[in-house]
Amino acid sequence: MGVDSLLDDIQDLNLSYLLLVQRLLREDRPTAMFRLKLDEPMADLLATLSGKQLVQLARTNQLICRLGFDDAEQLTKVLNNQREQGLARIHAALLMACADSDVGKGEAR
């Protein structure tokens, strides 16, 4: 596969992502912010972008959105659980849902 087609794929994905963000935010802002892991200023900004601005943002050789997990070790544990009880999906969802919380991190409360 040529570099050109990869670049196209990245830009397509960027634009699809941005359009999805706008659609979700329009439908139900708080739920969308949870699904997308966006904070308020970013949600407000992305919701107001024009079509032209979306295309502008999407045209880059880097992906505009990031992975919902930032710790490979954590994700390994979800995927390679020796005593898996069919809970991998719910485990992954739980870890993403509490990724931004500070509870129990560092000093004890």
């Binding site: 308020e40 949600a43 005593r83 069919g86 719910i90 509870v103 129990g104």
Partner: protein, 202 residues
């Protein structure tokens, strides 16, 4: 002056309907809306077609720390907390949204709904009265529901380290037997047989 705002009342009715549709018991509605008990009962009958169940709500924090309920409660509470903290949602707004997100996530898999709406609401109330809190699993880093003042050191969650009999319910065994009988290696097998067995709705 003492006249009630019509808009406010309409919003309350809307909230009550939404909660009833999601499976709320009368006690939840009485606590979370200003509507009279009589109107709530009428509303309940109109929405559900039956009278509201009588009796007390389960009042124990213990259910939330048993194996599978703990996992589902922890997922729900993390969603709820995220909505309250980062999307500027008001408490009940966040609650209804979090519950819908929880149902949505669980329905993606072959899991049964373990946490009903009334249980979820009780869970939030237990957190508000500081009878329950979240603790971080030292293995996977996820947040889980636990009794307040339980020692947080060395906590390992029920997914990383399931108890020895975890998940070996009769229903699951039957489902597995049935699947073995079918010989087909289809992925949807368990889902269908579990669904046929009737999803346990708390």
């Amino acid at each position: 002056m003492s006249e009630k705002s019509l808009v406010n009342e309409m919003l309350q009715v809307q909230l009550a309907i939404e909660l009833i549709e999601l499976g709320a018991r009368l006690q939840v509605l009485e606590t979370e809306t200003d509507l009279s008990r009589g109107r709530l009962i009428r509303l309940y009958k109109e929405v559900r077609g039956v009278s509201p169940p009588k009796g007390m709500l389960p009042f124990s924090t213990d259910w939330f720390v048993t194996w599978l309920p703990n996992i589902h409660s922890s997922l729900f509470y993390s969603i709820y907390r995220s909505l309250v903290e980062s999307s500027g949602c008001e408490r009940m707004e966040a609650f209804v949204r979090a519950f819908r997100l929880y149902l949505e996530q669980v329905s993606l898999g072959d899991d049964d709904f373990v946490l009903g709406l009334t249980r979820a609401w009780t869970l939030v109330r237990f957190f508000e009265s500081e009878m329950l809190e979240q603790v971080r699993c030292t293995c996977c880093g996820g947040l889980f529901v636990t009794h307040s003042h339980a020692p947080p050191q060395d906590y390992v969650c029920g997914i990383c380290q399931p108890p020895s009999r975890a998940g070996k319910t009769r229903k699951r065994r039957e489902a597995e037997l049935r699947q073995m009988g079918e010989v087909s290696g289809q992925e949807g097998g368990i889902t269908e047989s579990v669904l046929a067995g009737g999803g346990a709705r708390a």
